[in-house]
């Protein structure tokens, strides 16, 4: 799990918490950013919630690095598309260099962008401070089907492997004279000979994996035991209930103001 593994092994604040507590927190932040007015909420949750937590967990630099790298294309696209083409009756124009932006469009881009940072940032911080195996174990122990947990973990491990194989297939086909560059049509035609060997090879591997699953009696009924125990102190259980209550209150408040206003 080199490229897809976000988890960073540090001894910070969030790393000590139960995975479920962190997941509930992420859910509350995402809920709040849609239920409370933008862009202030987004900015406050990012600056007052996610950033201090990332600092306390000793992952702040990597957190900001990945957050900006993944969201920058979306944010730029948002400002350009909505800033220039937002459908509005407001004629106010903001000139930045040679570009004439619509003020309502920029406002819309700012609101959406501030939300996006929280929506992407909360799960990112969760996965940077939580080993995926621990999160899946905690979820299974609180009632998620074991098969779903298995699928999640295996898929996470397979992504780098399949990605490597895709590069290998591309090189092999190029050695046979396949064009993978050029105009749009040529590029689309180049994709097909890459996809089919990749998928057929993967399906052959699926067969071996299925036999391994049967050999180890994965589907056998009865209770299973765990190698590791995940601590879950009462204080954290209370915190989870409090956070879910807060989220519920926000939803009720939002629905109430929607119908009265």
């Amino acid at each position: 799990m080199q490229r897809t593994g976000l988890f960073i092994e540090r001894a910070g604040f969030l790393q000590r918490l139960n995975p479920l507590t962190k997941a509930t927190g992420a859910l509350l932040l995402i809920g709040a950013t849609f239920l409370l007015p933008a862009p202030l909420t987004g900015a406050a949750l990012l600056g007052g919630g996610l950033l201090p937590l990332a600092l306390a967990s000793l992952v702040a630099r990597r957190f900001l690095d990945i957050l900006l790298k993944t969201l920058l294309p979306v944010l730029i696209s948002l400002v350009l598309v909505q800033g220039l083409f937002f459908p509005t009756a407001d004629p106010t124009i903001v000139a930045i260099g040679p570009l004439l932006f619509r003020r309502a469009g920029l406002q819309f881009a700012l609101d959406t962008g501030s939300r996006l940072l929280v929506v992407a940032g909360a799960p990112l911080l969760l996965f940077q401070t939580t080993h995926p195996g621990m999160l899946v174990q905690a979820l299974i122990q609180s009632g998620m089907p074991r098969s779903i947990g298995y699928i999640l973990l295996v898929a996470l491990q397979l992504i780098p492997a399949i990605s490597e194989r895709a590069v290998g297939v591309a090189e092999a086909q190029r050695a046979r004279g396949l064009e993978t560059e050029g105009n749009v049509l040529q590029r689309i035609r180049g994709v097909l000979p890459l996809i089919s060997p990749l998928i057929v090879g993967a399906l052959v591997e699926a067969e071996e994996r299925a036999m391994a699953i049967e050999a180890r009696a994965f589907n056998a009924p009865g209770p299973k035991t765990w190698v590791r125990a995940i601590p879950d102190p009462p204080a954290e259980r209370m915190a989870r209930i409090a956070m879910l209550t807060a989220l519920g209150t926000l939803v009720v408040w939002r629905v109430a103001t929607f119908f009265s206003g």
Binding site: T4, L6, T70, L71, V74, L75, I76, S77, L78, L80, V81, Q82, L84, F85, P87, F108, D111, T112, G113, L116, V119, A120, P123, F127, S147, I148, Y150, I151, L152, V154, A155, L156, L158, I159, I162, S163, A166, V184, R187, I188, V191, I195, S196, L198, I199, V200, A202, L203, E205, A206, E207, R209, A210, M211, I213, E214, F218, N219, A220, P221
Partner: protein, 197 residues
């Protein structure tokens, strides 16, 4: 081959358990490739979902789509996460397409792809509008800009972008899946039991 797909107590067979993670990885790798390298107004991020739906039925297809977008969204592309519900519906439709005999000929698969695309566009548009303001940083954004400049609202432009991209994308996806399944060795297809021919 009689016992290969029968260990099914927990709902999913061992074949499904083995195939779904691989299909998820294929979705993410190809989706990422098309989105970040090719910058085309199509996605090709549901080949694994449609493949599993067609081979193993609606439930397995829906689970593949849902979890693929959850994993993709949480690891590489945050913009995929809110579309998890759409991906689940795509897998569901693929499973039913198989039951209605879509695999019998390539044009039935193309038709099923077209239908899936229209449904996907209709569910995606509100998500694209309210979560992303109409854009996702991918090649299709240029279509949103075009429709808005022609006078459409953000929701309208998002739907029109989907109505252009999705049916095309899903038709290509279904045809690729048809070609792949046709090329699979019979011994391997037997693994997928009564669902495959």
């Amino acid at each position: 081959m009689t016992t290969s797909t029968t260990s099914q107590r927990g709902g999913l067979s061992s074949t499904a358990l083995a195939s779904i993670p691989i299909a998820i990885a294929i979705n993410v790798v190809l989706g990422q490739l098309v989105q970040s390298v090719l910058k085309l107004p199509i996605y090709l991020d549901s080949i694994g979902t449609v493949l599993v739906g067609v081979l193993l039925g609606p439930l397995a297809g829906a689970i593949t789509g849902l979890l693929a977008n959850v994993i993709w969204g949480l690891t590489l592309a945050p913009s995929a996460l809110p579309f998890a519900a759409v991906a689940a519906v795509i897998g569901l439709i693929a499973g039913y397409a198989r039951q209605y005999g879509a695999m019998h000929s390539w044009w039935k698969m193309a038709l099923a792809g077209l239908l899936t695309g229209v449904v996907a566009a209709a569910i995606s548009a509100p998500i694209a509008t309210y979560v992303f303001g109409g854009v996702t940083g991918a090649g299709a954004d240029v279509l949103v800009a075009m429709f808005q400049s022609l006078g459409a609202s953000v929701l309208g432009a998002s739907f029109m972008q989907g109505a252009v991209s999705d049916p095309l994308d899903k038709t290509i996806t279904y045809l690729i899946v048809w070609a792949i399944i046709s090329a699979l060795p019979k011994r391997l297809l037997a693994r997928f039991g009564a669902n495959a021919q």
